[in-house]
């Protein structure tokens, strides 16, 4: 992220901010969607975070921390979106990322079959937002504890304990699914 772009945006240059938004929006949307598990809420959280960034950009003390600061705004927006009452008429739909035209898929990911994805999805939805956010920081963004702490606005020790609990909760959810999936024994021959 160009420091000069950030500085110009901080000074009120909307064109510079537009470029920052253009560069960031895809990543923000992906992160929001991973956390809130809903396309419409992810859109709203992304929009809310970027608007908040524009309004409060003068509060940023170090332009080099822009990305981390923006992540924090996004996580806060995700929290707010998750608390909103679902709008009338909206339907929560999980889009299968592997839906593709036959013969054109180019991604090799043999370990990720449909059953595994569904189980991970169910397990992930059982987590609270704090736990989802820290897992996204850790597994998708590859953040260190310090980086995740800055993005979440909590001390590194809190990140460590949330991560530990989140991983344990995911494992427990997957184990519960595995127990329910065990085939029945006995029956007629």
């Amino acid at each position: 992220m160009s420091r000069d772009l950030v500085e110009r945006a901080m000074a009120g240059d909307h064109d510079a901010f537009s470029e920052l938004a253009r560069i960031s929006i895809h990543r923000l949307y992906v992160i929001a969607r991973l956390i809130v598990r809903d396309d419409a809420r992810a859109e709203d959280a992304t929009q809310e975070a970027l608007v908040a960034a524009w309004r409060k950009l003068s509060a940023l003390r170090d332009p080099d921390r822009f990305e981390a600061w923006l992540h924090r705004l996004l996580v806060n927006a995700c929290y707010r979106e998750s608390r909103r009452v679902r709008r009338l008429g909206s339907i929560e739909v999980h889009v299968d990322p592997f839906t593709a035209l036959e013969g054109t898929s180019t991604i090799e990911d043999p370990a990720m079959d449909l059953a595994s994805r569904d189980e991970l999805e169910r397990g992930f939805r059982r987590l609270d937002l704090d736990q989802r956010a820290v897992l996204v920081m850790h597994y998708y963004l590859g953040f260190s504890l310090d980086e995740a702490a800055e993005a979440l606005g909590v001390p590194p020790g809190t990140v460590r304990s949330r991560l530990h609990r989140a991983i344990r909760a995911m494992r427990a959810a997957l184990e519960a699914d595995a127990r329910h999936a065990l085939p029945a024994t006995g029956g007629r021959s």
């Binding site: 992906v30 409060k56 990322p97 991604i107 595994s116 998708y140 590859g142």
Partner: protein, 423 residues
């Protein structure tokens, strides 16, 4: 599904999130954001406590009685205003070492001279005088300097200002591998180059040159299990150099090159376990993000398709094929890290532009004669490269909005480059 072991669990989670992240935001989302921000009044900096109060203090303030908070904030505001009054002098606007930047000049060689030109092809003129067989001009990431070699047999490495002035010799007694461009460190201080030595000039190795002092150190092949080292590429975080290693043993029926990672001091060398690279000598290309250690490269594709385009994530040790069943050569990341481009020889030559997050998003440009090593302009709006005959620089608009630009010239030794400027 049985509960996987710990390492498998981490891979499973990372893989699932990566797969789940292969989506695109609604096309009108950015427009909606910018419409709203254009109508939104900004909160003045002096009004925002966060502007003046470190986060840790801010947390304590939020618990403090209001009058104490107000007095402290006011005191800090006054102190900051006083500090601002002493800030003076101008600062040179430089682009960040990686990521999108503004477009400066194009530079290319004519086998004997270094030329610069405007991106629209106008204004082509020689910019370096008095250096015979000058070639390989490559701009520093901050756009202020140019490094190139002069082919004096043996060669010298030179550095000068971006406009070709102030040229001085850095280091000599080199046999620089032609068409393999120097690679700058992200701090615009060091350059990594391939050089040949030995009686048959077959013992290639990488040399790191300090462009301030001219000090040169070589990355010894011993650390690379005896492989010859070429095509160095400096990672955006400055911590690693990727290079291609070719076994340095008596001639084999077919040499099997491989990519290697090594620290800039030559230590910690490790082979990257990619698919077989084949015999095309193509540099690996770093993703332009210091937090993502990923390289793009061509390697053997499945089903006899020849070279395919891959991305290797060095943090997770995972390889992902990005191209479909076609020849894909010289994959290169866009400055924003969202797209890869490559040349394909499937049918009429084309330049593919593929989304890294969703490889089903594909655009194809008519190559218009481009036949080697496509690269992105600093702002990500153009793709440029050399023609097959090495006698033209071809510039294509990514969105196809303008006709291709062709800059004809005498045959080049090395690839062209595009200067990065502050946006």
């Amino acid at each position: 599904m049985t509960t996987p072991a710990r390492d498998d669990f981490d891979l499973l989670m990372a893989g699932w999130m990566e797969a789940d992240a292969r989506v695109s935001e609604p096309v009108d989302l950015l427009g909606r954001v910018l419409d709203q921000t254009a109508r939104t009044r900004r909160t003045p900096a002096w009004f925002l406590a966060e502007r003046w109060v470190p986060a840790a203090v801010g947390d304590r303030l939020r618990a403090a009685p209001r009058p104490a908070t107000a007095i402290l904030v006011l005191a800090l505001v006054l102190a900051a205003l006083v500090a601002i009054a002493f800030v003076a002098g101008s600062h040179q606007r430089l682009p960040a070492p990686f990521g999108p930047a503004a477009n400066g000049q194009l530079v290319f060689d004519t086998f004997d001279q270094i030329y610069a030109a405007n991106p629209d092809g106008t204004g082509a003129r020689p910019i370096v005088a008095g250096v015979p067989r000058a070639a390989g001009a490559t701009f520093s990431p901050d756009g202020t300097r140019l490094v190139f070699w002069g082919n004096d047999r043996p060669d010298f490495l030179y550095v000068g200002n971006a406009d070709g002035t102030g040229v001085r010799k850095l280091v000599g007694d080199l046999w620089i591998s032609t068409d393999k461009s120097p690679s700058w460190s992200p701090d615009s201080r060091y350059v990594a180059i391939s050089t040949e030595s030995g009686p048959d000039r077959l013992d290639e190795y990488v040399v790191i040159v300090d462009t301030n002092s001219g000090t040169a150190t070589s990355i010894a092949s011993a650390g690379l299990a005896g492989n010859r080292a070429l095509l160095p590429g400096w990672s955006p975080d400055g911590q690693w150099i990727v290079l291609e290693g070719i076994p340095n043993v008596p001639p084999m029926p077919v040499e099997s090159p491989s990519y290697w990672l090594v620290r800039p001091d030559g230590s910690d060398a490790r082979r990257i376990p990619t698919s077989p690279l084949g015999t095309d000598v193509i540099a690996a290309h770093w993703a332009p993000d210091s937090r993502r250690l990923q390289i793009a490269y061509s390697a053997e594709g499945p089903g006899g398709a020849g070279s395919a385009a891959y991305v290797f994530d060095l943090a997770t040790n995972r390889e992902t094929r990005i191209s479909s069943d076609e020849l894909a050569l010289w994959p290169a990341w866009s400055p924003d890290g969202r797209w890869l481009t490559w040349l394909t020889g499937a049918g009429p030559d084309g330049v593919r532009i593929v989304s890294v997050e969703d490889p089903l998003q594909v655009r194809t440009l008519d190559a218009s004669g481009m036949g080697q090593a496509p690269a992105w302009s600093p702002d990500g709006r153009y793709i440029f490269g050399l023609s097959r005959s090495r006698t033209e620089v071809v510039v294509l608009a990514v969105d196809g909005s303008t006709t291709a630009v062709s800059i004809p010239h005498p045959i080049s030794q090395a690839l062209p480059d595009w200067q990065r400027l502050a946006p």
